[in-house]
C-alpha cells in the first residue's frame, strides 16, 4: 500500500486530537457550513461543543486549565482539521487563542490564573483588538487612548474588524498610553465584556469566512481596572508582535487545512466528472494541475510543522519563520482553492458545490494577521539583520 501521508512524528495525543476534530468537522460542521456562510451565522453551538470536548484549551498549559501537552502542534492540527471543512468556523475557534496569547505571553501569574481557565474550558471566549480605521498594517498608528486615573485606565476609541467581536467575553485591547513614545507608548489591556463604556458597533458583511463575527468595538470613557494592564506600560506593541509570532502559524494551519479540503474535493470531483466519455482526471493537463496543488499543500504543511517544532523547542525570535509559514501556506490556499474551482468548471462557480466558498474564504488568509506583503517585510528585515553580522 502506497504511503498516503508524510510521517511528521505527531504524538499519541496529537493523533487523537486530529481524529477527534476530523470526525467532529464531518459530523457537526459539514452539514451546516453552507447555511452558516449564507446567513452569516456565528457557530455558537459548534464552539460550545468544542469546549465540552476539551478542545478550546489546546494552546493553554494544564496549569491554567488547558490540555496542551508541550507542543503547539496540539492546537495546530485542530485548526487544520476544522479548516478543511470551514474556515469561518476555524477562525472563530482560533481567534480565542489570539485573544489569550497576550495573557499567556505577558500576563502576571494572577492574570493568568484569573482569565485563562475560563478560556481553556470554553466557558468564555476571547478576542484580540489591535486594528483601527487608521491602524492596519501600520499597527503603530493606533489612536485609541488609555489614560490612568487612580486605580483605573480610562479607554477611548474605536477598534474595527475585530474577529469574535461581540461574541467574546475577554478582549485584549491595544491602546496608547504615551503618544510621545510612538510604538513604545502602546499598552495592552484585558477588557471584559459588560464593562461600562464598552460597546459593539456594526457587524461587517464579508466576502468570506462569513460565519465568523467581525465587528467594531467602541470604548467611551471605559474604565478598566489598572490590574488588567498586561506587563508594563509601553509593552503593548512588543507583546502584539510576540503574539503574532505564535499566532501566525495558526493562520498557516488554516491555509494548509483549507487547501487540503479544496484538493480533496477537486480530486474526487475530477474522478467522477465524465466528459468526452472518460473521467476528466484522465487528462494529463488536469492531472498536472492536481499534482501541483498536492505538492504545494504538502510543502506548506512541512514548513508549518517545522516552524511549530522549532517554536516548541523554545526558540525566542521566530518572526522570520512564523511570517514565512503564514505567507506561504495562505498563498498556497489562494492558489489551490482557485484551481479547485477551475477543476470543477462551471459547477465550481455554483453555491451548490463547496469550492466557491473555499475560494472566497482563502482571500482573507492573505490579508489578516498581517498582509502577505507585511510578512515579506518581516522576512526581508530579518534577512537584512541576519546577514549584517556576516559581512
Amino acid at each position: 500500500m502506497a504511503v498516503t501521508e508524510i510521517d511528521y512524528g505527531l504524538n499519541e495525543m496529537q493523533l487523537e486530537i486530529r481524529e477527534m476534530v476530523r470526525n467532529f468537522a464531518q459530523e457537526r460542521v459539514l452539514p451546516v457550513r453552507a447555511e452558516l456562510d449564507e446567513k452569516e451565522e456565528f457557530p455558537t453551538e459548534i464552539l460550545r461543543e468544542l469546549g465540552r470536548m476539551d478542545l478550546m484549551g489546546l494552546y493553554i498549559p494544564e496549569a491554567y486549565g488547558g490540555s496542551m501537552t508541550d507542543s503547539m502542534l496540539d492546537f495546530i492540527v485542530a485548526i487544520e482539521e476544522l479548516s478543511k471543512v470551514c474556515c469561518g468556523v476555524s477562525v472563530s475557534y482560533a481567534a480565542n487563542a489570539l485573544g489569550a496569547d497576550p495573557i499567556l505571553l505577558g500576563g502576571s501569574e494572577e492574570q493568568k490564573k484569573k482569565f485563562l481557565p475560563p478560556l481553556a474550558s470554553g466557558e468564555k471566549w476571547g478576542a484580540f483588538a489591535l486594528t483601527e480605521p487608521n491602524a492596519g498594517s501600520d499597527a503603530g498608528g493606533i489612536q485609541t487612548t488609555a489614560v490612568k486615573r487612580g486605580d483605573h485606565y480610562v479607554l477611548n476609541g474605536t477598534k474595527q474588524w475585530i474577529t469574535n467581536g461581540g461574541e467574546a467575553d475577554i478582549y485584549t485591547v491595544l491602546a496608547v498610553t504615551d503618544r510621545k513614545r510612538g510604538a513604545r507608548g502602546i499598552s495592552c489591556f484585558i477588557v471584559e465584556k459588560g464593562t461600562p463604556g464598552f460597546s459593539f458597533g456594526k457587524k461587517e458583511n464579508k466576502l468570506g469566512i462569513r460565519a465568523s463575527a467581525t465587528r467594531e468595538l467602541i470604548f467611551e470613557d471605559c474604565a478598566v481596572p489598572a490590574e488588567n494592564l498586561l506587563g508594563r506600560e509601553g509593552m503593548g506593541f512588543l507583546l502584539a508582535m510576540k503574539t503574532f509570532d505564535v499566532s501566525r502559524p495558526g493562520i498557516a494551519a488554516q491555509g494548509v487545512g483549507l487547501a487540503q479540503g479544496a484538493l480533496d474535493a477537486a480530486v474526487i470531483y475530477a474522478k467522477q466528472r465524465i466528459q468526452f466519455g472518460r473521467p476528466v482526471i484522465a487528462n494529463q493537463g488536469l492531472q498536472w494541475m492536481l499534482a501541483d496543488m498536492a505538492t504545494k499543500v504538502e510543502t506548506a504543511r512541512a514548513l508549518l510543522y517545522g516552524v511549530c517544532r522549532t517554536l516548541d523547542a523554545g526558540a525566542k525570535d521566530m518572526s522570520k519563520f512564523s511570517a514565512m509559514c503564514k505567507l506561504y501556506a495562505t498563498d498556497v490556499a489562494m492558489q489551490v482553492t482557485t484551481d479547485a474551482v477551475q477543476v470543477f468548471g462551471g459547477y465550481g462557480f455554483m453555491r451548490e458545490y463547496p469550492v466557491e466558498k473555499m475560494m472566497r474564504d482563502a482571500k482573507i488568509l492573505q490579508i489578516y494577521e498581517g498582509t502577505n506583503q507585511i510578512q515579506r517585510e518581516v522576512i526581508g528585515l530579518s534577512l537584512v539583520k541576519e546577514y549584517a553580522s556576516r559581512m
Partner: protein
C-alpha cells in the same frame, strides 16, 4: 441514582452486504459501531447525570471486540462498563440475550433506570429491551422520545407515528429510546485519553450465574434459516398526474383489472 445502559456493537449497515452464496452478512472490512439508537440511550443517561448527578454503567453482551465500544462509552462519560462475554453465549437469540443481560444487571448494584435504544440496526427486532424488563419484573416504556426525572418518578413521552403519549412511571423502570430523544455528544479529549487506559471487565456466564440451558443456541428457540436480499421491485406503471381526475380513473381501472379492488 444508578443508570444502566445496554449497548450493542453492530456492523455499520451503511456498507453491509450479504454474501449471496452463504446468505450471511459479509463482516470483513465493515466497521463496527455503537448501535445508533443505543447512542441515544447512553446520551439520555449522561444528560440525567449532568443535570442531577447519577452513576452511569454501560454493559454490552458480545464478543471481546465489543470492549472498544464500551471504552467509547467511558470516553463519553460513563462511570463503569462491563462486557458480558462467554463462548457459552454464542448464537443467543433475543430471548437468550435478554436472559443473560437480565442476569448481568442483577449482579450489578441495583439500577434505578435501565435504558436501551429502541432497536439494533442489524437485527431490527426491538425485543431485547422488553425481554430484559420482563425478566427483571420492571415496568417498561418503549419508543420514548423525551425523558425527565422528577424525584423517584420519570416523566416520559412515548411517540407514535401520528402523536405521542405523556406518561409517568415510578422507578425503577426500563425505557427504550428513539433517535429524536437527543443528539449524542462526542467524547471529550480527556475522556478519550482516560478510556485508552481502561481495562474492560468481563462478566462470564459463571459470574452472572447464567444457567447453560438458557443461553447460547440451546437457550434460543429462534433459529435463522436464511438471510437474503429481497428482490428489487420491478419498474411498475407511472401515471401522468397533470390531469388528476383522468389519472385517478386510470388507476382505478388498473387496480380493477388486476383484481386488487
Amino acid at each position: 441514582m444508578h443508570i444502566i445502559v445496554c449497548l450493542k456493537q453492530v456492523p455499520d449497515t451503511n456498507d453491509v452486504r450479504i454474501d449471496p452464496e452463504t446468505n450471511t452478512l459479509i463482516r470483513e472490512g465493515v466497521a463496527s459501531i455503537m448501535n445508533p439508537f443505543d447512542e441515544n440511550a447512553l446520551e439520555a443517561a449522561l444528560a440525567i447525570k449532568d443535570a442531577q448527578g447519577a452513576t452511569v454503567t454501560a454493559i454490552s453482551m458480545g464478543p471481546p471486540q465489543a470492549g472498544d465500544m464500551l471504552r467509547e462509552a467511558i470516553a463519553r462519560g460513563a462511570d463503569n462498563v462491563y462486557l458480558v462475554s462467554d463462548r457459552a453465549f454464542a448464537g443467543s437469540d433475543t430471548l437468550a440475550t435478554s436472559y443473560a443481560l437480565a442476569k448481568a444487571i442483577r449482579t450489578l448494584p441495583a439500577a434505578d433506570l435501565v435504558l436501551f435504544g429502541k432497536q439494533a440496526i442489524d437485527g431490527d427486532t426491538a425485543q431485547v429491551g422488553p425481554g430484559v424488563a420482563e425478566l427483571l419484573g420492571l415496568p417498561i416504556i418503549t419508543y420514548v422520545r423525551k425523558v425527565t426525572v422528577q424525584d423517584q418518578q420519570l416523566e416520559v413521552e412515548r411517540a407514535f407515528e401520528d402523536g405521542f403519549e405523556r406518561m409517568s412511571v415510578p422507578l425503577p423502570a426500563v425505557l427504550t429510546v428513539l433517535k429524536e430523544t437527543n443528539v449524542p455528544r462526542m467524547a471529550s479529549l480527556r475522556g478519550r485519553m482516560k478510556a485508552k487506559k481502561v481495562e474492560v471487565p468481563v462478566l462470564k456466564a459463571a459470574d452472572i450465574e447464567a444457567e447453560s440451558h438458557h443461553v447460547g443456541l440451546t437457550g434460543s428457540p429462534t433459529q435463522v434459516i436464511r438471510i437474503f436480499t429481497p428482490p428489487k421491485k420491478q419498474g411498475g406503471v407511472t401515471l401522468d398526474g397533470s390531469h388528476g381526475q383522468e389519472a385517478a380513473q386510470q388507476a382505478v381501472a388498473l387496480l380493477r383489472e388486476r383484481k386488487v379492488i
